[in-house]
């Protein structure tokens, strides 16, 4: 039985600059992988390649056993790999609830253009997710009213509405004040467990990594320098020196 996400010799180069350097990588069902690394180490690029935003110069990506190299994000998402963004990508002209309703409808083969969104969307599912990310009481406000922290949650929540098998979160707690961070992570993890979603999250905060990851991968200049149990990786001298900078 092949692993959920698998990359082989994944390479991306702009001219001379190599941002992904022949990455071989496996992710198993049910893991919580924390990706750490300095800015520009290629973490986000890796995500962008996996989710189809960027086409790799070489190598291949396969998800749940099917090759998805160079497929469009739309296609990949429909396969069950969702992502959230470092800068929340939301529908600013809509209300919180509408965003989730739209996300829910996205799983339909085609969007109905007669029945009102409100009625065709699965209200129960929306309510459940709203509860999970505790946005229920703000559900009717325009998204533009939300503070950064809650935008992050909404961004993730929209991906959750897709009921993905794998959810990749790009710095879910960046831009969130350090006291909120744990709150946010708690909520996210609860949601993930609830829906049994495998997850990758890019994170800088070491205690958060320790607390919530079952596995850690450290990125250095476009490649994986260390990969394994959190304590092991975080203790690794190279990682200590080049990633955590202690």
């Amino acid at each position: 039985m092949s692993s959920l996400l698998q990359t082989r010799g994944l390479t991306l180069a702009f001219g001379g600059l190599v941002v992904a350097n022949g990455i071989d990588f496996n992710l198993e069902e049910g893991e919580r992988l924390a990706v750490i690394g300095q800015n520009g180490a290629g973490k986000t690029t890796f995500i962008n390649i996996c989710t189809g935003l960027i086409r790799p110069t070489a190598g291949q990506v396969s998800f749940a056993g099917t090759d998805i190299t160079g497929r469009s994000p739309r296609h990949i998402v429909r396969q069950g790999m969702a992502r959230s963004f470092q800068l929340p990508q939301l529908f600013l002209d809509h209300s919180v609830r509408q965003c989730l309703e739209l996300a829910g409808m996205a799983r339909q083969p085609r969007l109905p253009f007669w029945r009102p969104l409100r009625r065709s969307a699965d209200g129960a599912a929306v309510d459940r997710v709203l509860e999970l990310v505790s946005l229920a009481e703000r559900q009717h406000e325009p998204v533009s009213n939300l503070p950064e922290g809650q935008r992050k949650l909404l961004d993730v929540a929209m991906s959750l509405m897709l009921q993905p098998r794998l959810l990749i979160m790009d710095e879910p707690t960046s831009g969130v004040s350090s006291e909120e961070k744990h709150g946010v992570m708690e909520i996210l993890m609860r949601a993930l467990d609830e829906q049994k979603v495998t997850a990758i999250f890019v994170e800088h905060d070491v205690d958060i990594v320790r607390r919530y990851a079952t596995r850690v991968a450290a990125w250095i200049s476009g490649g994986i320098a260390a990969d394994g149990k959190p304590d092991a990786v975080l203790a690794d001298p190279t990682v200590q020196r080049q990633v955590l900078g202690v």
Partner: protein, 314 residues
């Protein structure tokens, strides 16, 4: 929904009242509503954050189809003509749409502009078939088999246009609130996210584009019948500009906006023609700028603000 009903009622009362009080206003009113229909087509695109400077093309296509058919088959009923004219624009919209939805913003607008100019010049050129710049006459057809004199015909047409408008307002507003409609609007704020939900923005835009083409077509068909004449002018880019003008004036908040905008516009222009004949463009231009400055989201923007204040629920 509430707004739709208010809007519809107000619109029909105003229109019918005026027509009853001032018979000569019938024609301007018909024109205004036709412009409204076309502008609504633009509004659909505005909601997706796109703008077209070539949609007069679809009004023009429908108009010419109506004219051609009415000359070729003089016994064809008015309703048939309108139906076929609109259908023609719909089909054209589907084909052209398939290409242009790959483009965004300026390029989208420019491509539409270019296509409409091609049509415009061809209509002017192929004199033998299109009657050149003088265009084609449209005979006065029967409506549901009834022969009508000019006056009766115009009254009937006015009612017909009004009914069309109301149906369209209801239908389009319903589309705006539907999943596809809301997704279309989402495309404006964040196309990438749509893709990352597994929704095809192109497909959405294509639907919207076809709808807008159809609306412009309907407007063009009715326009042609009410004028008794279609000319290439119907497809000139300045005409498309007028549609956009009206759409902005009305705002994209609600389907009824386009029609209110159109009525305002028509009377504004009529005034300009009566009071300061010679400087009507100046007046319109100034108005446009002022509107954009004070009401960037048009008349229905006012409505929207209030709704937001009431707290999101619609």
């Amino acid at each position: 929904m509430r707004y739709t009903i208010y809007g519809a009622v107000a619109l029909s009362v105003v229109v019918l009242g005026l027509a009853a009080a001032f018979p000569w206003l019938k024609l301007p009113l018909i024109l205004a509503l036709c412009y409204g229909l076309a502008a609504l087509g633009i509004v659909v695109l505005l909601r997706a954050g796109q703008i077209s400077f070539g949609h007069a093309m679809y009004a023009c296509i429908a108009g010419y189809v109506v004219a051609y058919l009415s000359q070729r088959f003089p016994h064809l009923d008015g309703f048939a003509l309108i139906g076929l004219g609109t259908l023609a624009s719909l089909v054209a919209g589907m084909l052209i749409g398939a290409f242009v939805v790959r483009y965004r913003e300026i390029f989208f607008g420019m491509l539409n502009l270019a296509l409409s100019m091609v049509l415009f010049t061809l209509l002017g050129k192929f004199y033998a078939y299109t009657g050149g710049t003088d265009g084609l006459r449209v005979g006065r057809p029967t409506l549901l088999g009834v022969e009508l004199a000019r006056n009766g015909f115009e009254t009937a047409l006015l009612v017909l246009v009004l009914v069309c408008s109301l149906l369209v307002i209801w239908g389009v507003q319903r589309y705006f609130r539907s999943s596809a409609g809301e997704a279309l609007m989402a495309m404006k704020s964040n196309e990438m996210r749509l893709e990352y939900l597994g929704i095809s923005a192109k497909k959405l835009l294509w639907q919207g584009y076809v709808l807008s083409a159809g609306l412009c077509g309907l407007s063009g068909a009715l326009f042609g019948l009410s004028q008794g004449l279609v000319t290439p002018e119907m497809g000139y880019w300045l005409r498309s500009g007028e549609f956009v003008f009206i759409a902005i004036l009305g705002g994209s908040g609600h389907a009824v906006g386009a029609f209110v905008g159109a009525l305002l516009y028509e009377f504004l222009k009529m005034y300009a023609a009566v009071l300061v004949s010679g400087a009507w463009q100046l007046l319109l231009g100034a108005t446009l700028i002022v509107i954009i400055y004070f009401l960037p989201s048009g008349l229905t923007g006012l409505l929207r603000k209030r709704r937001a204040a009431l707290g999101g629920e619609q």
